[in-house]
């Protein structure tokens, strides 16, 4: 039989899900539900003699203010707007255009070559920054028209662009990993290192898949007939185009991994570097600075809006005994520790159809963290596993942000159903990566372990 506080916990989760489907902003749904259920609980405690665990009076709102202050004084998250700024500036810098122009000429002559070029650029972008929206939009606008003109299957082309653009959230630097590191109290640098190999592995899977699929199915990604021959000059020009992003990757990831800088310092320097690249390419102007500034405010704000809503939601859940209720449920599952982790990942995967990574991380991680810690798993391994799983949330319909961005900029003849069909193999590859990381924790733990050897 459920206790009153447990019924409140369930009612709160259900109301939240119901409310967001009305189209009301997620941040305000989280904050509003928290305030509403605080009132219900306080009232029930006062007048109906409910056992509401620790939620018994108005002081809960004082605690909420404290938690807002906790976010403000959390200097680890300073890196977040900086990486957002960097991503938006890089989008404007002209670096990707140069890469794409060269890759098209160099690789476009082979079957599936354009798709390969997209994935390679996707990986380079991912390792230099990590704003998924910006990456997908940029890759789509630069490559979709050319791929379709060359006779690529619409779904295949869409799948390649959407999934390559999504790599940025997994391959460090990543705002998702920064937020998760903060939630689980682990070091950002170690988490970045842990995610690097799984991220690159996933990119490699895409490459292998493209080569195999393009070879087996001739019509999927045909080669063109009329490209000029490869010249030394083209090869050099391509190499030259790769230099700026590689320098940026070295400046940001290299300085974190090799021990020159904190993630915050690296993010600020990276943002500065992206601005310099834009200036070198003649793309920097007051208008661009102003626009990047405004978009940084809006992107940062919608993330932190959900942050504040989720921190209120989490504290009300906690005061209602939600943590203990959920961990009791999970630990009561008739599986071993591994089975419990897989259950958590499966719930995250399902939630990913409707919610995006941010809500899932902010709502689920505080609830499952104590369970995972109690089971004795390495937190870095678990977070990376969770992060690889959440890759799918960008690609699974109906709510998948990479799909939306792609639909927004893809040529008119590409329908949302082409896109849905096209991402299926990539979602399967992501699930394969989840299984591999689950089975071989060394994929995550090896690199951070190497860095400890003096």
């Amino acid at each position: 039989m459920l206790e009153v506080n447990e019924i409140l916990v369930i009612a709160m989760l259900v109301s939240f899900i119901a409310l967001i489907f009305t189209g009301f902003p997620v941040a305000w749904a989280l904050a509003g539900i928290s305030v509403a259920f605080s009132f219900v609980a306080i009232w029930g405690f006062e007048y109906l003699d409910w056992d509401t665990y620790f939620l018994t009076d108005m002081r809960i709102f004082g605690v909420m203010v404290q938690r807002i202050w906790g976010q403000m004084s959390n200097w680890i998250l300073v890196a977040l707007p900086m990486f957002i700024f960097m991503g938006l500036m890089l989008e404007r810098s002209g670096v990707t255009e140069k890469l794409m122009a060269n890759f098209i000429q160099l690789f476009g002559r082979y079957r599936g070559g354009l798709a390969l070029g997209v994935v390679v650029i996707g990986i380079l972008l991912a390792a230099s920054t990590g704003i998924v929206g910006a990456s997908v939009v940029l890759l789509a606008m630069l490559s979709m028209p050319i791929m379709l003109k060359q006779g690529y299957n619409k779904g295949f082309a869409s799948g390649v662009v959407a999934s390559a653009g999504t790599l940025g959230i997994l391959i460090p630097p990543s705002i998702m990993l920064i937020i998760m590191a903060d939630q689980m109290s682990v070091s950002v640098g170690n988490l970045f290192m842990g995610a690097l190999i799984p991220g690159l592995m996933l990119g490699t899977f895409y490459i292998i898949f493209i080569i195999v699929a393009a070879t087996l199915f001739v019509k999927l990604a045909p080669a063109p007939t009329d490209l000029p021959p490869v010249t030394l000059r083209l090869v050099l020009s391509t190499l030259w185009a790769v230099v700026p992003p590689v320098l940026l990757i070295l400046a940001v990831l290299g300085s974190i991994f090799m021990g020159f800088a904190t993630p915050t310092e690296a993010s600020g320097v990276g943002a500065f570097g992206a601005t310099l690249l834009a200036a070198l390419n003649g793309r920097l102007s007051w208008a661009v600075l102003k626009e990047v500034g405004m978009k940084t405010t809006l992107t940062t704000a919608f993330i932190f809006g959900i942050f504040l809503g989720a921190t209120m939601f989490a504290v009300v859940m906690r005061q209602l005994g939600g943590d203990e209720f959920i961990s009791g449920l999970l630990q009561g599952l008739p599986f071993g520790p591994g089975g419990i982790v897989l259950t958590i990942l499966f719930i995250a995967f399902l939630a990913g159809f409707f919610l995006d990574w941010l809500e899932i991380s902010l709502i689920m991680l505080p609830l499952v963290t104590p369970v995972v810690a109690a089971l004795g798993f390495d937190p870095i391994w678990f977070i990376v596993l969770f992060a690889v799983t959440l890759q799918t949330s960008f690609l699974t319909p109906p709510v998948g942000f990479s799909l939306f961005y792609l639909k927004g900029v893809a040529p008119k003849e590409v329908t949302i159903f082409d896109i849905y069909k096209g991402v299926i193999p990539f979602v399967l590859l992501q699930l394969l990566a989840v299984i591999l990381v689950f089975s071989f924790p060394q994929l995550v733990l090896w690199l951070p372990g190497q860095m400890l050897v003096q």
Partner: protein
């Protein structure tokens, strides 16, 4: 007996020996002796309120009680630094003596009741390590320009030597040392430092912990809440915290010897500061203490009381006990 049901947010994780696991032990004992009537539930750092905001939350009445090291409060209550840890100050047993027999408790209440907080000493532990460094510190000049993590009034003293002092939370220190963001850090007991893995990323461990001869943690109770309890309940809580002090001292002392040996076995260079270095630290401490005593009346009053007791105790301490290194002396 009152029914008491409080959440106790802590500023340290419950996994850290003596530093973090004393309060969970006290909570278990309270449940046992009160047959479940006094039910305190500890909350991990940040789960309820930010780890370094526990005092202000208790003061503002957002929460009934919380558990923290008092040095974190010195931005608000300067004298809190002394009750938390005094450089070249009282050791754990001496601190207990001062608190119970030399007016410490009265001064504690005089300091904190104006903030509507009633602190109960609930876990005093052995000296901290004096610092983990990536390089050797042969003279105090070697400290110049280093980036160092330190908390409380100790931080101000380190700053006297030209160090740039920050207050990073425990969880970030490993990475910061590893990446060279920090050149050195102090954090806590050798066992706690081991749990945080400093020995993997810094080659030199310096002792003794002159900046923190004892580390004192308190159960902060909102004063209105405290006044609302009956005498029996208060006595049970106070007695159990006193037992917590004994438990914490025992636990902290029990484990440090073995871990120091294990550091040496794992290649850490365990060093002690020279007499000259210690003298320089002491001189700087006196300057900083004088400055703070002048700046804040309560700070001056508490410091004077502690120093008076330390002076009074000196003949006994120096003659009543064997010297700490008597074994080495005889062997030589």
């Amino acid at each position: 007996l009152d029914r008491v049901r409080w959440q106790i947010p802590m500023s340290f994780a419950s996994t850290l020996t003596a530093l973090g696991d004393t309060m969970p032990w006290v909570a278990d004992q309270l449940r046992a002796v009160s047959d479940g009537a006094i039910d305190l539930r500890v909350a991990e750092p940040g789960a309820l309120v930010p780890a370094l905001s526990i005092f202000e939350n208790v003061a503002d009445g957002n929460i009934d009680a919380g558990y923290s090291w008092m040095g974190y409060e010195w931005g608000t209550v300067p004298a809190a630094a002394l009750f938390g840890a005094t450089p070249f100050g009282l050791e754990s047993v001496e601190f207990l003596a001062w608190m119970t027999h030399h007016g410490g408790q009265e001064l504690l209440e005089e300091t904190f009741h104006p903030y509507n907080v009633h602190p109960i000493l609930c876990g005093t532990i052995s000296p901290e390590t004096a610092g983990w460094f990536r390089q050797e510190m042969n003279t105090v000049e070697d400290l110049q320009g280093l980036r160092f993590r330190a908390a409380g009034v100790g931080g101000e003293i380190f700053a006297e030597f030209g160090m740039s002092v920050t207050l990073l939370p425990g969880g970030e220190l490993y990475q910061a040392l590893e990446t060279g963001t920090l050149d050195g850090t102090e954090f806590s007991l050798p066992t706690v430092d081991e749990q945080l893995g400093f020995y993997q990323v810094a080659d030199y461990l310096y002792l003794p912990g002159w900046h923190q001869p004892s580390t004192n943690q308190y159960l902060y109770v909102n004063l209105d809440v405290w006044n609302g309890l009956n005498d029996q309940t208060r006595a049970i809580i106070e007695m159990t915290c006193m037992a917590g002090n004994a438990y914490a001292i025992a636990r902290a002392e029990a484990l440090q010897g073995a871990v120091i040996t294990s550091f040496e076995e794992r290649g850490t260079n365990v060093r002690t500061y020279s007499d000259e270095q210690i003298a320089a630290f002491y001189e700087a401490t006196q300057a900083v203490m004088a400055r703070n005593s002048e700046r804040d009346e309560m700070f001056g009053k508490v410091y004077a009381s502690m120093m008076e007791f330390q002076a009074e105790l000196r003949p006994w301490k120096e003659q009543g006990y064997l010297p700490r290194d008597w074994q080495s002396r005889i062997e030589d």
